[in-house]
């Protein structure tokens, strides 16, 4: 009997284990996979992220006429595994260690960038 009493008394006298979350936030860990971003200026629209993505939430399209490429990600289908970040050849994809903000309606991350012309071979 009363095996728990010392623990209970210690908890009463010590400070709280939880924090008042929305007011008081903890510093995120460096490696935390929080939110996916694409630095569209570096993106070459190679479709590698689209091919490797396990949840198939990324769509990359290129428009030859206007010379623009579109990178679309469905953040509601994304599983935040950062496989695309690992495979990106130009390191344009990156993850921020913060939680994605809640939103009331379904929205897609859509980014449009210029397709770089292929490098000419040195003669």
């Amino acid at each position: 009997m009363l095996n728990m009493t010392p623990t209970v008394l210690k908890n009463l006298l010590s400070k709280s284990s939880t924090r008042m979350y929305p007011v008081e936030k903890r510093e995120p860990f460096d490696r935390y996979r929080g939110e996916l971003f694409n630095n569209i200026d570096d993106c070459i629209f190679c479709k590698k992220c689209q091919i490797k993505c396990p949840s198939q939430c990324i769509t990359v399209t290129k428009d030859k006429d206007s010379g623009t490429g579109t990178w679309v990600c469905d953040p509601f289908a994304c599983v935040y595994c950062s496989i695309c970040v690992d495979h990106c050849p130009t390191n344009s994809l990156y993850m921020k260690p913060v939680h994605r903000a809640p939103s009331a309606e379904r929205e897609m991350i859509e980014q449009v960038g210029k397709v770089k012309p292929p490098k000419k071979k040195a003669k």
Partner: protein, 358 residues
């Protein structure tokens, strides 16, 4: 005497999982239990046909949230065995560390839920507070609290820095000290003992014949542990399976409690022997052939059957999770118990119904 059939579940206040059991009751004594499964079937095995074998890692991780890392480790081991990939030593040690951390947080979660099942809310909160330390280690080292996704075919994706190693060591030591502080309560408390001792007894013969797995089997006195198969770095780490002989709910909770402390010891050993070197080898080609791999999950033995046909899509992935093996022993435990003890007995096998139905 009036026989009544009482439905237990699929949604029940003490169970987080949708398990449905029909209990045939005579005067509040359970005579028979009939299980009904299939509420959370997700068809994950079928996905092997439309996702390539690298993407399947992220899918098998989602079979179970609590032992996600161990699921992907088992799958990767299978693919590596088919393709003849040699995993670097450092990757093996890192896999061992993360899998033992997973076992620790799974057991702490279960110990809390078990305390909650017989109405010991204060103990429940204590265990979950300690568990938070382990979750923080997971988040800081892998990037996610639960679904770590660190395993890839050929190794692991993340490395541990020396600072992280010392931090993990200090956190695990603190957690171990805190768990030991609760030892007297979970093992000797009057409330815990009266609710668990002599309840849901499974004899050694029954456990062996009905094919129980994990702590359910070890709580009945059979020293069976898949880690003795020496997968990952378990060949270089000393450990003995935790065995209790009574076969009741108390024995099973004691096995889990002692395994939590054992896992802390294994993490320490793995961190001490962590070799330097590469963390992954490059994998080329596609798997062709079939393989069966087994690992020890917090709940028991997990079995993967993988069949590849030489293309990047697998022919078949069959996952047998420990709860599937533990359901026949559960049905042998339930008869002749009191109706009020049913939640405690069902929780004592640590049911993970989402795993069972995948």
């Amino acid at each position: 005497m009036a026989r009544t059939i009482i439905p237990f579940g699929p949604q029940h206040p003490v169970l987080p999982e949708p398990l449905h059991v029909k209990l045939v009751v005579e005067d509040e004594i359970v005579q028979e239990a009939i299980p009904a499964l299939g509420y959370v079937h997700r068809g994950l095995e079928k996905l092997a046909e439309i996702r390539d074998y690298h993407q399947m890692i992220q899918i098998v991780e989602r079979v179970c949230g609590i032992c996600s890392n161990i699921h992907s480790m088992c799958y990767c081991q299978g693919i590596e065995e088919i393709m003849g990939v040699e995993v670097p030593d450092r990757a093996k040690y890192l896999r061992t560390i993360w899998s033992e951390l997973h076992r620790m947080h799974s057991h702490l979660l279960w110990l809390g839920l078990f305390a909650d099942a017989f109405g010991f809310e204060a103990l429940f909160m204590q265990f979950w507070r300690i568990r938070e330390r382990i979750m923080d280690i997971n988040e800081a080292t892998t990037g996610s609290r639960v679904i770590t996704s660190v395993n890839v075919v050929g190794g692991v994706r993340q490395d541990l820095t020396p600072e992280m190693c010392s931090w993990i060591l200090s956190e695990v030591n603190t957690a171990e000290k805190e768990i030991k502080g609760l030892q007297n309560t979970i093992l000797n408390d009057y409330t815990v003992c009266t609710r668990t001792k002599g309840v849901g007894v499974l004899t050694k013969e029954q456990a062996y014949d009905l094919g129980a797995a994990g702590p359910t089997l070890r709580g009945s006195g059979v020293a069976s542990d898949m880690r003795l198969l020496k997968y990952a770095a378990f060949d270089k780490i000393d450990f003995e399976p935790v065995v209790e002989n009574d076969g009741d709910c108390y024995a099973r909770s004691t096995v889990r409690f002692r395994e939590t402390l054992q896992s802390a010891e294994l993490v320490r050993q793995a961190l001490a022997g962590l070799p330097q070197g590469e963390i992954a080898t490059k994998v080329k080609g596609n798997p062709e052939g079939e393989v069966i791999t087994r690992v020890e999950q917090p709940r028991g033995e997990c079995l993967y059957y993988i069949k590849g046909n030489g293309s990047k899509y697998l022919d078949r992935v069959r996952i047998r999770t420990p709860t599937f093996a533990n359901i026949p022993p559960l049905l042998a435990m339930l008869p002749h118990c009191e109706l009020a003890d049913v939640p405690v007995i069902i929780l004592s096998i640590d049911p993970c119904i989402s795993c069972t139905e995948r």
